[in-house]
Structures are given as structure tokens and as C-alpha cells.
């Protein structure tokens, strides 16, 4: 049993009671909501004649269904408009702060929480979205939940949860040039598998994490869930505090020192005990590309696709399905695989630093004629900051479309979709069958710079060759 970890400390500080089921009732410090998983939850609260217990600890935005071309209302998509109407009605009725288009703070829920300083070390956070693990980058325990649990958090500000084990995931050494946080997280998932994290919270540490920016840490924690872990986190340090300082909801100057003292106190002790420890060497990590239909089916960009015989017997069916769906061949190189669509965005890689990395590759080059490429900033703030630096022009001159903030083609609930058998290079987090809006569509996950390289070359490329 883990002891003295951030997980233990934050968990213990939020325990309300032990429930008769054996679960623990945990207080949730920050509840983030969005339009897709909340309308039914609000209806259930209203049907039970309840109120929102802590509306001032609840914040809402819209991201999943918003169009990224024209955001004029009413939306052309009638269902999207209805969904937008529902959240507008509910936040008004229950008195919840709402970051809508007019606010200038709208964006993907996991991008705006940190950006506004809402996400702070030592908190418990819940959101009706699996990538809530992103907020763990700040040293929080952040849980993705279903709609009925959203109802519980609305009505009680609590969740019933089972305790987790804690696995320390060390990445030491130094990343090679051209290797990014996305490659780190994809490598961890490739080695530990998509089921490897079941029952665990992942604590990420080691010199590679110490050296990462907050945006990079968020990219890694974002995909903890893709490795099966219920939560992932990095211990808070000076990088965390520097990021938070001066943000809208961060503690003000008079409270800052007290806040930092608390934040430092929740970090794992030097002699903390873990249920499991795994070690990676950062210097071994290559730019990674997924070739299959689960995020652990990936290879280094210069590797060949694995032979089916290499997989354990119980994986063979999934692997065969993956090759059939992707129309790729075992033994073939992944580099050179032609692409139709390039998508830069999502809660994994839709932040300013991601766009900067991609823009470095796109600058002065042209998107291949065969490729439809677009960039979707993760939030209105990211968009504004990128435009201030002129990133939008770099992208549009290269032939990328520059869009408004939202989830877009990460899950294709808006008009941005693959069609037919199109294959995309995507900076998002899921390569599941049908994920990008066409049931036959195909997705290869990679870092935003690698997506930009693929867009330019018209095929999967090693971004390091374009950096020379």
C-alpha cells in the first residue's frame, strides 16, 4: 500500500466518510462541466428536487460540439444548438459561472481550467470527461466521471470512489532533440499497455518531468487514462507555482505564500512508498506514431510495424482487426505512409507551446496538395495569444486552415470529420475506430510537430529531418 505520496495526502484531506458500500466519500474541490455530459445530470438533479450544492466550486464551458468555422448562433446543426441551449439554461438556473464565447475564456475544458488558474495543487477535481487526468499535471487528483456521477457532484460536491494503488513512473535522463512530451506519454502507454494502469494512479517523475514545462506535463497526464490509469499526476514544484502566478483564479499576492506552503506540503515525501515503480530512460525515446486502433499500438517513426507473431495470443484478434482497419502491413515502415488529413489541436496538444512547435515546422513551407490540414487552438486565449505572435499567418500561408477553439476533429461531434477511408495524422489522443467521425476513417496519433511534418510531406515523416 502506497504511503506518503501526493495521492495519499490529497485523498486523506478530502475524505468525508466511509460509505456502507466500502467506497470512500470524497469531497471534490473543483467541478468542471461541459455541454455534452451535463444536460442529463442537471435534469436528474431537478427531478430529485435538489439544488447544486456548491455552485461557486463549479465552472462550465462549451467545447465538444462547437463549430470551429462559424460560431454564429443559432448553430447550423440543430442538435448542437439544442445542446448549447441546454447548458445556457442550466448554468443560469443554478448560478454557475460559464465561460462562453463572449467571455473570451471559452475552450476545451481541460485547457481552460489550468489557463484560468482554477486548477491548483492539492485539489480534487472531477469532470464528466475522461481526460480530466490532464489536471494532474498540477499535483491534483483529477477524475473523469460519467453523467450520473456528474449529478452526484452537482447535488453533493462529492463522489463515492474506490481507493487506488500508486505506480511511480520514472523517466530519467534527457530527451533527444525533436522528442516531445507526446512521445513520452505514447512510449509509456506502448510499454505498459492500455490496460496496464487499471487500478492505479500514475505518479510521473524523474529528471525528464522535472525539466518539463506545465504544458508538457499536461500532455503526459492527459493520456494517463489511455494507459488505463484512473488518474495521473506530477508533484508540484517551482515550475507549477510560476505557471499559476497572476492567473485569474490563482491566489492573490497576500495569500500567495500560504498557498505555496500548502502546495509544497502535498507533494510526495522523499521516502514515500509506492505499490509499483517503473523506469524509463528518456534518451531512448523516439518520435512515436500509432499504427493501430488503440493508443498502445505504436512504433518509433523509423521502425517497422510489428509482426503479428510478436503479440501474445490473446492480443492477436485486436492486432488483426487493427491491421485490417488501418490497411497497413506488418513489417512495413510507418514512415512514408500517405495521409489525407492533418489535425493539430485537442486537450492533449492544443496549447500555445504545441502550436509554436508545429509552426516552427510549417514556417516557410507548404502543405502537400493531397492533404487537408487544419489547426484548432484549444481555447480562445490560446487562439488570441497565437495570433499575437503571428502563428496564424504562418499556418495559413503554409496552407493550414486556422479555426476557432474547440474539440473539433478529436471526436468529431462538430462538422470537422474524416470522410470515408481517409487517414489522418492527428495530435489528439484516441485512434479508436470511428473516433474522428467516419466509421471507416483512420487515425495515426503523433506529436503536433510530427503532424505538421506529415502535412508538409503528405506522408508520415521524421520531424527531425525537417529541423535540420
Amino acid at each position: 500500500m502506497a504511503k506518503g505520496t501526493l495521492y495519499n495526502k490529497v485523498w486523506d484531506a478530502h475524505v468525508v466518510d466511509q460509505l456502507p458500500t466500502g467506497q470512500t466519500q470524497l469531497f471534490i474541490g473543483l467541478h468542471l462541466i461541459h455541454e455534452v455530459t451535463s444536460p442529463q445530470a442537471f435534469d436528474m438533479v431537478a427531478e430529485k428536487g435538489l439544488k447544486v450544492a456548491y455552485p461557486n466550486r463549479t465552472f462550465a464551458t462549451v467545447d465538444h460540439i462547437v463549430p470551429t468555422k462559424s460560431q454564429a448562433r443559432p448553430f447550423q446543426d440543430h442538435e448542437a444548438e439544442q445542446m448549447m441551449g441546454a447548458i445556457e439554461k442550466n448554468v443560469k438556473k443554478f448560478g454557475i459561472p460559464f465561460f462562453d464565447f463572449k467571455s473570451g475564456n471559452q475552450g476545451i475544458v481541460h485547457i481552460i481550467g489550468p489557463e484560468m488558474g482554477l486548477t491548483q495543487p492539492g485539489m480534487t477535481i472531477a469532470c464528466g470527461d475522461s481526460h480530466t487526468s490532464t489536471h494532474g499535471a498540477f499535483g491534483t487528483l483529477a477524475f473523469g466521471i460519467g453523467t450520473t456521477q456528474v449529478r452526484d457532484v452537482l447535488a453533493t460536491q462529492c463522489l463515492g470512489l474506490d481507493a487506488l494503488k500508486v505506480r511511480r513512473v520514472n523517466v530519467n535522463g534527457k530527451l533527444k532533440p525533436g522528442v516531445t512530451a507526446k512521445d513520452v506519454t505514447l512510449t509509456i502507454i506502448q510499454k505498459l499497455g492500455v490496460k496496464g494502469g487499471i487500478g492505479y494512479a500514475y505518479e510521473y517523475g524523474g529528471s525528464v518531468f522535472d525539466a518539463m514545462t506545465m504544458e508538457e506535463r499536461m500532455t503526459v497526464c492527459n493520456m494517463a487514462i489511455e494507459g488505463g490509469a484512473r488518474a495521473g499526476y506530477v508533484n508540484p514544484d517551482q515550475t507549477t507555482f510560476d505557471y499559476l502566478k497572476g492567473r485569474k483564479y490563482a491566489p492573490t499576492a497576500d495569500k500567495w505564500d500560504k498557498a505555496v506552503a500548502y502546495w509544497k506540503s502535498v507533494a510526495s515525501d522523499k521516502d514515500a512508498v509506492y505499490d509499483d515503480v517503473v523506469d524509463f530512460n528518456g534518451g531512448d525515446i523516439e518520435p512515436v506514431v500509432t499504427w493501430g486502433i488503440t493508443p498502445d499500438q505504436s512504433v518509433g517513426v523509423n521502425d517497422r510495424l510489428p509482426e503479428i507473431g510478436r503479440f501474445p495470443a490473446d492480443e492477436v484478434k485486436t492486432v488483426e482487426l487493427a491491421y485490417r482497419h488501418m490497411d497497413l502491413k506488418p513489417g512495413a515502415p510507418i514512415k512514408g505512409t500517405p495521409i489525407d488529413v492533418a489535425f493539430i489541436g485537442s486537450c492533449t496538444n492544443g496549447r500555445l507551446s504545441d502550436l509554436r512547435e508545429a509552426a516552427k515546422v510549417a514556417r516557410g513551407r507548404k502543405v502537400a496538395k493531397t492533404v487537408r490540414a487544419f489547426v484548432v487552438p484549444g481555447s480562445q486565449q490560446v487562439k488570441a495569444a497565437a495570433e499575437k505572435e503571428g502563428l496564424d499567418r504562418i499556418f495559413t500561408e503554409a496552407g493550414f486552415e486556422w479555426r476557432a477553439a474547440g474539440c473539433s476533429m478529436c471526436l468529431a461531434m462538430n462538422p470537422d470529420k474524416l470522410s470515408g477511408r481517409e487517414i489522418s495524422a492527428s495530435s489528439s489522443n484516441r485512434n479508436f475506430i470511428g473516433r474522428q467521425g467516419s466509421k471507416d476513417g483512420r487515425t495515426m496519433l503523433m506529436s503536433p510537430a510530427m503532424v505538421a511534418a506529415a502535412a508538409i510531406e503528405g506522408k508520415v515523416a521524421d520531424v527531425r529531418e525537417l529541423m535540420k
Binding site: 484531506a13 468525508v16 460509505l19 456502507p20 458500500t21 466500502g22 466519500q25 455530459t37 435538489l50 456548491y54 466550486r57 446543426d77 442538435e79 448542437a80 445542446m83 441546454a86 491548483q120 492539492g122 470527461d129 475522461s130 480530466t132 473523469g144 466521471i145 460519467g146 453523467t147 450520473t148 456521477q149 449529478r151 452526484d152 447535488a155 453533493t156 463522489l159 463515492g160 474506490d162 492500455v194 490496460k195 487499471i198 488505463g228 484512473r230 491566489p251 500560504k258 498557498a259 500548502y262 486502433i293 488503440t294 490473446d314 492480443e315 484478434k317 485486436t318 482487426l321 471526436l411 468529431a412 461531434m413 484516441r430 479508436f432 475506430i433 470511428g434 473516433r435 467521425g437 466509421k439
Partner: protein, 204 residues
Amino acid sequence: MNKVTRIEGRAVPVEGNDIDTDRIIPARYLKEITFTNMGKYPFYDERFDAEGKPKGHPFDLPPYQGASILFVNQNFGCGSSREHAPQSLLRWGIRAIIGESFAEIFAGNCTMLGIPTATVGQAEMQRLQGLAKENPGTPFVVDLEKKALLSGGKEHLKFEIHESKRNALVNGTWDSTGLLLANAGKTAEVARKLPYVNGFQPQG
């Protein structure tokens, strides 16, 4: 609330590891603001071709109509937290899921809807899926008190189920709002003690 102790019925096998929630319910059906119609959509893109004609998925084969138990393999329900996935299975008629392993958010969502997610070993699941394929009419009983899957009246197989989930189901406390709400006083107390809720003020 309803106690869930025994689920009786026929079983439908859906084979494959890592069947994610996008496959269980494609994102386009998440645009509906109620769960009412979800029963029409489970595994939609695996069941129907472009013209909407069934492709022979188990959910459309005549012998499995009315089945209430789902047999699956490893890491079922991975991916998105969308409750639409268990809602769609529930509203199609599934009342219990037996698998080799489940993604945690999905299993938690199932419990919240009163659907047990029980696990058996790989060899046992192969046998169960085989049985459901060869003899789709086989009646099963998922007995949460005995933690066993019965078929033909006799004990067939012991299964595992997370104890807190089993407790919630057999005691009828799986709809947790009531439990959590009963502790509203204690909740306020915990909140008051948290430095960040308190605005980092000294505690009194």
C-alpha cells in the same frame, strides 16, 4: 431503491479486447440531450452498413433478441467516460456484464445504473462465449450473493466482482446521491478545513 441480487436470462457474446466506448456508442449520438433513445444505438457502426442494413452483429441475430447478459473480453469499455455507453446497453436490454476485465470509468458508470460488471478468467470466458454461441438459448443466472454464474439451475462458475460494487448492488444503494447527501454536514466540515476552499486563511 432496487436491490440487484439476481439477473436471469440468456447471454449475448461480443468478442474482442479493448472494445472502447466510441465503438459501443459513436460520438454523434451523444448530441441528444436525453438518454431516452440510447437503446437504438449500441455498437451502431459495427452493426449496420452505410445503407443501415444489419451486418450480422450478435445484437441483431434473432437468438440473442431479449438477451440480458453480455459476455465480453478484456478491458471492455475503455476510452471515453460517456455514460451513454452503459445507458445504450441497458436500454437495449443488458442487465449484467461478465468479462475478463473492464475499464474503470465504464465499470463505475455501470454500477451507477445498477448493472453489475463481473470478471472471470480468460479460459472461462472463452468457454462461456462458446456456450452462448453454440446454444444461444442457454438460460443463465448471475447470482451476486453467491458470486456465481449459474446455468441450467446448477452452479456453473464463480466470478469476481469489486466488493464495493457488489455491496452497492445487493444493498440497493447503487444510486449514490442519497448516501452522499446524508453526509452534507460532514461535507461542509471537510470543505471548511481545506486551505484552498478557505481562501488560505488561518483555520479556526
